[in-house]
Structures are given as C-alpha cells and as structure tokens.
C-alpha cells in the first residue's frame, strides 16, 4: 500500500513515467525530484500516518526500494512494530 500511495502520487501529480517503477534497481535520484517535490511526496504518507518522517535529505541517495523500506521502518517504530492500513485516497 505504501508503494502504491507513493507511486500514484509521483505518476498522477508529478507526471513521472509509470515505466520507471518497473526497474527494481530504480534510484530515487533518477526520479528528478527537487527538495520541495520530496517533502510533498513524503506528506502523502505523513498525512495518513500522522507524524513527520525524519530527515528527507537522506532519500535522494537511496534506491527507491530502500526508501520504501526506510519509510516502512519509521512507521513501524511509531506504531509498536505494526504497519497500519492506509487509505489509498488522501485524507486532506
């Protein structure tokens, strides 16, 4: 679900090519996101999980898959090891 939310946002709002995400070695830097794009993208998760993810400047150095794992880890740490079910639609 986490991956779906982020991919949907990048494709639908930021106009990224869906084909990019079929590469398992996709790097975050290859997505061409500036720092504002990055915090907007993270807000899609923060809005649903209710806390601010730490230090977004780490992500451009990671692979897309690593970033997803890192975000999931942060959410689990915040929820006693659980990954809550998120709505695909943003709450706003």
């Amino acid at each position: 679900m986490l991956e779906e939310i982020i991919k949907n946002y990048l494709i639908n709002t930021k106009g990224k090519d869906p084909a990019l995400f079929s590469d398992p070695a996709l790097q975050v830097s290859a997505l061409g996101l500036d720092s504002l794009d990055m915090v907007e993208m993270l807000f899609e998760i923060e809005d649903r999980c209710g806390f601010q993810l730490p230090d977004p400047s780490r992500y451009p150095k990671m692979a897309f898959r690593e970033m997803l794992d890192d975000i999931e880890k942060a959410i689990r740490e915040h929820n006693n090891g659980e990954l809550p079910a998120f709505n695909l639609e943003a709450g706003k």
Binding site: V39, E40, L42, D47, G50, F51, Q52
Partner: protein, 417 residues
C-alpha cells in the same frame, strides 16, 4: 513618456465567470449577493456574501488544483486577459514584461484550512498529530503566491510585485504598472487583483468590525445599498480581475487593438485614522490622477465610485467628488457596482476599473442597482437602479479608498488609433 494601452481584460467575479458575463449582469442590475454557507451561517446567521459565479479550479489545469483559491482566481482572470490580448507564454521580451498583483489578505483559505486541520487533530484524542500539515502551506498562503503562479505560468521574467493595500491593492498595482511602462522601465505588464477570504475565520473578523450589511428583509440580494439612506454596510465578495498593459509601440508592432488608454494615476494617504476616510486626501488622489492624465474634470463622463455603503465612506466620497468636479458634475455619471458584486477587497479596484473601461467602450453605464432611497447628503447622479445606455464616454475614473487611509484613483480614456 510612452502611451500605455489596455490590450486585454478578464475577470471571474460574483457576477460572472468572465468579464463580458460580469459586465452584462452588472448592466442588468442583477445583484450576486446571497446567504453564507452552513458552516459560516451557524455562527453568523445574518452574514451575506458574494460568492464567485464559478469555481476557479474547474477552469484550470489539474496542476493548479492545490493552489490557494485566491491564486486560482488570479490565474483564471489572467488567462482571459492574456488570451484577449493575444499573448502566449514565454514572450520574446519576457524580461520587459512584468507581473503586478494586488491582494488584501494572502491565502485566507490556506490559513483557515490549516487551523481547522490543527483543531480537528487536537480533538482527535491522539489519533492524528496536529503538527503534520502540508509542506506547501507557506508557498500557498504567502501574499505573492498569485504573482509567482502567473510569472511561472507565462514565463515572465520582469518584476513580479505584489501590492497589499487593503481595498486599494489592485488599483495601486494598476497604477504602479502604468508608471513602470510609461516611464520606460517595462514594455508590458499583466496586472491582477484577487481575493478569496469567504472563510469562517476571516468572516468572524469582519463581523467584529461591524461594517457588514444586514440582510434586506424583502430581498437579501439587494442588501448592499451604497449612497442610500437605508444603507447598512458592505458585503464581502471574492474573485479576480486582470488587465494587460502595453506600451503603444509594443501593441502597434504586433497590430494589437487597444481597449483604451490608461492615462492617469493618483495616490495619497490620509495619515489620520485607520478606517475613517479623509476627504482632503481623496480629493488629492483624484486631482493627481487628472493631472497625470492631462485632463480636466469635464473630460470625465463616468466614475466608478469606491462606494462601499458605509455611512462614513459614502458621505465623504460624495464630498470629495463634489470638490474635484464642481461644475463638471452636471455631465458626470457615477455608480457603485459594489451594490451588485459586493466588495472584493484586494480585487475590487481592478474589477471596477475593468467594468468602467467596458462602460466607456460600450456607452452603457452600470447602475447603483440598489439605490432606491438616496441619502440626501449623497445627491450626485449615482445612476440609481437601472443602467444607462447610449452614453458618449470619452474618459472614465475609478476610485479605491482603503482601510489604513490609502487612496488610489485611476483615469482611462478612449484610444483613437
């Protein structure tokens, strides 16, 4: 000094989704004033509003959906004006093309939404963290958000300035753009006024000022009554309006017809009272505008008054117009179109100026639609109730007088190519 021509205009207002639609409804004397939405009426049952005739986001690309409503109004109005002027994005002289925006309160919808979200999270008993808010909240709510959106949308590299002068904001933006082109600093400018603050938070604040109209028992739409004995205050509106200004040389080089010549701008500050107007400085602003245009009072046939329907405002403006125009009042027709579209605060100056230019070109003057019982102290020709057609108008004036004591007066005349 170069002549400055108006080559395009646009508006999204309570009267219409575009400027021709807004002007047609103004000529019909149709008042676009109605009750507030349930979330506002719950606390303020008597408050009236003039909502825009269309939802701005439905007229824009999806990428603009998250902008503050005021910026969306700005983009819609700018789109109509730029299209009317035949200007497409990335003009070849982009560094000589400026953006001038007037807005009274930046990002009211974003600010209200932020606090509403915060309060709701506080009351969620720990389910949501109140501090998690959208990272673009600041760029959405900043006063120059609309100027930024316009300069980026059209690729304009000249100055992108925002004027926040309450009710005179967009009149000042027009005047400053006019002088920048006239004095050779720029060749063209898109000038926009926008305002969107019909939110619960800002209406609480306006209500506390005790300047809002009370609902007319028979017809709430006719509750804003400038220059009337039974006036009770103004009605807050929302929307945007835009004009494209160009040096005569630029417009001629691309054979773009002009809608008029912007020729006079006067401004002054009362330096006296926060809200009560001063006639002396209003007179000075109007006289400066006439002198700037090289015109005499008898050259103006139509004046769009500030006319907010407050006791102090109407009576002082009447005195000021009488002082400036003297004997020339015999051939001066005046109206307050706020009677129909409400008070758009930062967007009011430019919407009213655009309506006045439409009146000049069509010879049809919009009325003070709700003027049934004139205040004896306001005894000028305020075009009561019904529009006047078949008028020969060579030049117009538009007044905007703001809280804070800032006054602006603009003059435009027909352009004979």
């Amino acid at each position: 000094m170069t002549k400055v021509l108006i080559t395009g205009m646009g508006a999204i207002s309570p009267l219409g989704a575009d400027l021709p639609g807004s002007f047609a409804r103004a000529l019909a004397g149709d008042c676009a004033i109605g009750p507030a939405s349930a979330d506002i009426a719950k606390w303020l049952p008597n408050v009236l509003l003039a909502r825009a005739a269309a939802e701005p986001h439905t007229m824009l690309d999806a990428k603009h959906a998250s902008l503050d409503r005021a910026s969306q109004f700005a983009l819609v109005a700018a789109g109509e004006a730029m299209s009317a002027a035949g200007i497409t994005p990335q003009p070849g002289d982009a560094r000589r093309f400026g953006v001038f925006v007037g807005i009274g309160f930046g990002g009211a919808h974003t600010v209200d939404g932020l606090y509403e979200r915060f309060q709701s999270a506080v009351q969620s008993e720990g389910k949501r963290n109140p501090t998690v808010v959208h990272p673009l909240s600041v760029p959405r709510m900043m006063a120059n958000a609309a100027a930024a959106a316009i300069s980026m949308t059209y690729g304009l590299n000249g100055p992108s300035n925002t004027y926040s002068v309450a009710c005179a904001s967009s009149a000042i933006a027009i005047g400053e753009a006019f002088h920048a082109i006239r004095d050779g600093y720029l060749d063209a400018a898109i000038v926009v006024g926008c305002e969107a603050m019909l939110t619960p938070g800002s209406l609480l604040a306006w209500n506390a000022l005790r300047v809002m109209a009370k609902p007319d028992a028979n017809n709430p739409a006719r509750s804003c009554r400038p220059f009337s004995q039974d006036r009770s205050g103004f009605v807050l509106g929302e929307g945007g309006a835009a004009i494209v200004l160009e040096s005569a040389a630029r417009a001629q080089a691309r054979q773009q017809p002009a809608l008029g010549e912007l020729c006079g701008y006067g401004r002054s500050s009362d330096a006296a009272h926060l809200t009560a107007p001063s006639s002396a400085e209003q007179v000075f602003a109007m006289q400066q505008a006439l002198a700037d245009a090289g015109l005499q009072p008898q050259h103006i046939q139509y004046l769009n008054a500030h006319g907010t329907a407050t006791e102090a405002g109407d009576v002082v403006e009447t005195e000021s117009i009488r002082s400036v125009f003297g004997d020339a009042l015999q051939q001066l027709a005046i109206s307050s179109t706020k009677s129909m579209h409400g008070h758009l605060i930062g967007a009011s100056g430019i919407l009213e100026f655009a309506l006045a230019v439409m009146a000049m070109n069509s010879g049809s003057l919009p009325p003070t639609a709700t003027l049934d019982t004139p205040d004896p102290r306001c005894d000028l020709d305020f075009i009561p109730q019904h529009a006047r057609h078949g008028c020969q108008v060579e030049a117009i004036m538009s007044n905007s007088f703001a809280f804070g004591g800032s006054n602006a007066s603009l003059v435009a005349r027909r352009h004979h190519a």
